[in-house]
């Protein structure tokens, strides 16, 4: 329905987009005992590290090959070797995940080749899990980095089941997109387990970045899915992929192990969750538990209560494709009008967003569109705060990074319960804004009526 256009500016102003390698590193943070390693100069890593720490308020493992100018020109073999050895010896990880950056891609470092050489030279690394993903900064965006990395994890770490191996009907794989928070993952896990199924999440950011006091201080990731569990994912009866970005990994899984997959492009909203629970009921052979029947009723009631406030809102939303699709679809179903939509990278879901145009651009574009089209609700990650301030419209923070509020890791948008809470949050934001800033006075009536007769009425009908 929507036409996808790509911005033509030479200068990106107030970027919405973040780079691909840190999306990849983020995926590696969902593995247990993992150390993500960016092959690039120090800043590539340190910016990402700061970003993650500000968002999650957790210690974040992330390492760099610390490429100097000379090493960059001559090639980074030695830096990769040294980095792997240092991490292997010092932090005793269970896996090292390597992402390239713009610097090393421009030079054209053959990291796969380096890894083969390193394995030959150091027999202790011969079978040690090293996963490499090429992720140049000058291409694609955060979500693409995650997408490629999870697909690569499947290709490298999942074992092809032996022909005799019997599939475990209880075991299901879940491949969550990067738009889901650790809180979302916990919620999905609970729902799946309530059907008597045993889910394995790849990657599993819950337990890794969900806020916790660790038993021991460890320099690698804590929690997350273990490498040996990933290896057995081929024995699952189903793979559930969440978000269009996960199609690639789901297909890789099917190709390698024969496990069929079902893709849920979104899990926010009434109908997507109906579909999800019916599917779980079918594959588990169990009825939908009473708990979810009640939650469905609560969501339906929340929708009734909130549609007065959300209905008719002209929404400006800036987010990565899957999150954009997810949230804008739900709000559109609540009666909001998706009036300005900006995203970071190409995706098949963009065309299906119920709006006229989706722009691959930046927050300046979003701000201008929102201003021109009179939007009265803005959704973006924390960097959208400046635009919302200038536009003087209510601002809901969603996505990564969310550095100026607490609880980013636990924000919920999935399941009946998550959707219900999200709807309340957004509706309350609108109500508060209305009370604080939109109370009519004799003067406001006069000014609005004087300018263009009928405009006020037309706007409220949208």
């Amino acid at each position: 329905m929507a036409i996808v256009t790509v911005g033509k500016k030479a200068c990106s102003v107030n970027p919405l987009k973040m780079s691909q390698p840190i999306g990849g590193a983020f995926a590696f943070m969902g593995l247990r005992g993992s150390m993500p390693l960016l092959h690039g100069s120090q800043g590539c890593t340190s910016f990402g590290l700061t970003l993650f720490v500000r968002h999650f308020k957790e210690a974040v493992p992330l390492q760099t090959t610390a490429m100097s100018e000379v090493a960059t020109v001559l090639g980074g073999y030695e830096n990769v070797e040294q980095a792997i050895l240092n991490i292997y010896n010092r932090t005793k990880p269970e896996i090292i995940g390597i992402c390239s950056t713009g610097v090393t891609e421009t030079k054209g470092d053959d990291v796969e080749g380096y890894i083969r050489l390193i394995r030959q030279k150091h027999p202790q690394l011969a079978t040690f899990p090293l996963v490499y993903v090429p992720t140049p900064d000058f291409k694609d965006a955060f979500q693409d980095g995650w997408e490629k990395t999870v697909a690569r994890m499947v290709e490298v770490l999942v074992e092809t089941p032996k022909t005799a191996a019997r599939r475990d009907p209880k075991q299901v794989n879940v491949l969550p997109g990067c738009h889901l928070t650790p809180g979302d993952i916990d919620e999905i896990r609970t729902i799946i387990e309530d059907f008597g199924l045993e889910p394995s999440f790849l990657p599993d950011l819950a337990g890794s970045l969900d806020g916790h006091i660790p038993e021991e201080f460890v320099p690698t990731t804590i929690g997350g899915i273990g490498v040996e569990e990933v290896a057995t994912m081929g024995l699952a009866s189903w793979t559930i992929a969440i978000g269009a970005q996960m199609r690639r990994a789901a297909e890789a899984m099917e190709k390698k192990t024969g496990t069929p997959f079902k893709l849920f492009e979104r899990l926010c909203g009434l109908l997507p969750n109906d579909e999800f629970l019916v599917f779980l009921s079918e594959i588990s052979g169990r009825p939908v538990p009473l708990k979810y029947r009640r939650q469905r009723g609560q969501l339906a009631d929340a929708m009734l209560d909130a549609h007065f406030h959300i209905g008719g809102r002209k929404l400006a939303i800036g987010a990565e494709p899957d999150l954009l699709f997810d949230l804008s679809s739900m709000l559109q179903e609540m009666g909001a009008k998706v009036t300005a939509a900006v995203t970071t990278t190409q995706s098949p879901v963009l065309e299906r967003i119920k709006t006229e145009e989706v722009l691959i651009g930046d927050l300046e574009d979003l701000e201008n569109l929102a201003k021109d089209r009179g939007c009265d609700l803005l959704i973006a990650h924390s960097h959208g705060r400046q635009a919302a301030e200038r536009l003087k419209i209510p601002f809901y923070r969603a996505g990564f990074p969310m550095f100026d509020r607490l609880g980013a890791g636990h924000q919920l948008s999935v399941g009946y319960r998550g959707t219900r809470d999200l709807i309340f949050d957004i509706a309350n934001l609108i109500i508060a804004d209305h009370e604080d800033n939109r109370q009519p006075t004799p003067d406001t009536w006069r000014i609005e009526g004087a300018g263009a007769p009928g405009e006020g009425v037309a706007a409220s009908l949208h």
């Binding site: 030479a10 102003v13 500000r54 100097s68 100018e69 140049p136 000058f138 960097h383």
Partner: protein, 561 residues
């Protein structure tokens, strides 16, 4: 790239740099290119440093030429404050793509400058070079020159690709860009004998405004601040100031020194952290201005303000002192803060068990020794586990550090306070000191600690992280006590010189083998004290103690010092 490497060499030859002054001619040529170990902890890069140093110039458009990582991952991440324009908070980047990497990004850069000038019309555009365009050979100097001429507006190249070195080098390269392209290019409307430059102050959380009222009261004009709450024009005419105060010498010493050289603006290094330091700085400002022609009566007025403000601050801090009796602080920060905050905390009656000197200069370290005594716990670089041991071993009650190490303290249920750039409170001047003290009080006495230190009722108390770490450390100590050989080994492994990584054993052996009696002798044979020189005192202590008996055993944990 030749002019960039020349600039870098020039920065390395900085005569005002304490580290440099200690090096031989040959070593100095090598510069400070000591690269971080691959797979070791990650600090920022030169681009990061340049951006940090210049971004607080508030009315300038800061355009990052590079792939999305450099700006998209990092913009709007610092809390400098502006009294006027907000354009510095806008993220501008060329966000170069694959095509640019193949065919070059100069055209895109030029167009980007054009777009910015058309849309935002800033007084100047700063263009930051990053790794990828540097590799493909984009000549930002040429593009900036062309754009400058075409649009009739300063377009300043900041040549600081990340891979040329660490953050600190980037700070200095930023300074060089100002020296080369900005400072001295405009003239002020008028000057007064009270015109002061402040260099290396970034107005984080609006800190500068805690001091500005005092300067205003004295009639001293902040002529130009490089770069906190700075405006392009002010920097451009900053060469007409009478005197300068250097706040963070680690970052911008080259700017202060070269401005003294070129324009005869004398500078001093001072701090507005802590009551006495603030007073000293005010006095020094008055002295320098009088020296350059301000009336003598300025000093008397300054003293009067100092007396009044000190009395007020002391009176406010007084009630905290009994609460702080016996409370200990571990300070993990760097540079100028490693001593300026020490003074501040001591004034409040807190005891310091250690301070980090990771980014400190020789002068910084000398000051720490002055404040904390010869055997001050100066911590160079620590792993998180070591930090925790340090917290435990020194029985510190609170840790003050930057955001990245906060979790070491917090997860150990230890009070922690952010004193680095991401902090949300301002700690400068007399009022800032009072604020710091009240924040420490809030953190120390928060009832939350008591609850958090309790294990869950169903958990074995001996199994949590703290208990395990304590048990592990006790076991190590017991092992050493039981095994004199291991104890001796641990004693000898104690690091004496951190810069050159020389341990006690090596020094003792050298003394014995060559019958050394002087510190220079030790330096010749072991290279100890060949770096920052902070360990000179410790070596002299070793020399003094040795002939009589062997050194007393040192607990192994102190090795973390």
């Amino acid at each position: 790239m030749s002019s960039l490497s020349a600039t870098i060499q020039d920065v390395f030859n900085e005569p005002g740099c304490g580290k440099n002054a200690n090096k031989s001619e040959a070593e100095r040529k090598k510069g400070c290119t000591k690269q971080l170990q691959p797979g070791g902890a990650a600090g920022g890069c030169a681009f990061d440093g340049a951006k940090i140093a210049l971004q607080p110039l508030t009315d300038v458009a800061h355009l990052v030429h590079g792939p999305i990582a450099c700006e998209g991952n990092s913009w709007d991440n610092r809390g400098a404050k502006s009294s006027g324009s907000n354009i510095w908070r806008t993220g501008f980047t060329t966000d170069i793509n694959e095509t640019d990497v193949v065919f070059g990004g100069e055209k895109r850069l030029y167009k980007a400058v054009k777009e910015i000038i058309e849309k935002y019309d800033p007084p100047a555009v700063f263009v930051y070079q990053t790794c990828v365009p540097a590799m493909i050979g984009d000549d930002i100097n040429a593009v900036c020159k062309a754009a400058s001429q075409k649009f009739g507006k300063p377009v300043i190249p900041v040549n600081s690709p990340g891979f040329v070195g660490p953050k600190n080098l980037g700070n200095k390269l930023a300074g060089e860009a100002l020296l080369e392209h900005v400072i001295g290019t405009q003239e002020p409307d008028f000057t007064t004998p009270y015109d002061l430059n402040i260099i290396g102050e970034y107005n984080l959380s609006g800190e500068l405004w805690q001091v500005k009222p005092l300067l205003d009261e004295l009639g001293i004009r902040i002529f130009s601040c490089i770069s906190g709450d700075g405006k392009y024009r002010e920097v451009a005419y900053s060469h007409r100031a009478r005197a300068a105060m250097m706040v963070c010498s680690k970052a911008m010493i080259n700017v202060a020194r070269k401005m003294e050289e070129r324009y005869g603006i004398p500078f001093f290094e001072g701090s507005f952290y802590g009551i006495e330091d603030t007073s000293d700085s005010l006095r020094e400002i008055a002295r320098l201005l009088i020296e350059r022609g301000a009336p003598d009566e300025l000093m008397a007025r300054t003293e009067a303000v100092i007396v009044r403000e000190e009395a007020k601050a002391w009176a406010t801090i007084e009630p905290y002192k009994p609460r702080f009796a016996g409370k200990k602080v571990l300070l993990i920060t760097g540079g100028v803060k490693s001593w300026s905050v020490v003074a501040a905390l001591q004034e409040a009656g807190l005891e310091l068990v250690g301070t980090s000197v990771k980014k400190s200069t020789k002068e910084d370290k000398e000051r720490i020794k002055e404040l904390m005594g010869q055997d001050a716990h100066m911590i160079d670089d620590m792993t998180p586990r070591e930090m925790y041991k340090m917290l435990k071993d020194a029985k510190a009650d609170i840790m003050l550090s930057g955001g990245k190490s906060q979790f070491v303290a917090l997860k150990a249920a230890m009070p922690w306070l952010d004193i680095n750039q991401e902090r949300s409170h301002a700690y400068m001047g007399y009022v800032g000191m009072v604020k710091l003290v009240s924040e420490i009080d809030k953190a120390l006495f928060n009832p939350v600690w008591e609850q958090l230190r309790r294990p869950a009722p169903w958990e074995n108390a001996g199994k949590n992280w703290q208990a395990k770490a304590i048990a592990q450390m006790d076991a190590e100590a017991a092992e050493l006590a039981a095994d004199p050989e291991a104890a001796e080994k641990a004693r000898r492994a104690r690091k004496i010189c951190h810069c050159k990584t020389v341990d006690l054993g090596t020094i003792e052996d050298a003394i014995a083998a060559h019958a050394l009696t002087t510190r220079d002798g030790v330096k010749q044979h072991t290279n100890a004290s060949g770096g920052c020189g902070a360990c000179a005192g410790r070596i002299e202590d070793i020399l003094a103690a040795l002939p009589a008996t062997a050194m007393p055993a040192v607990p192994v944990l102190q090795a973390a010092e």
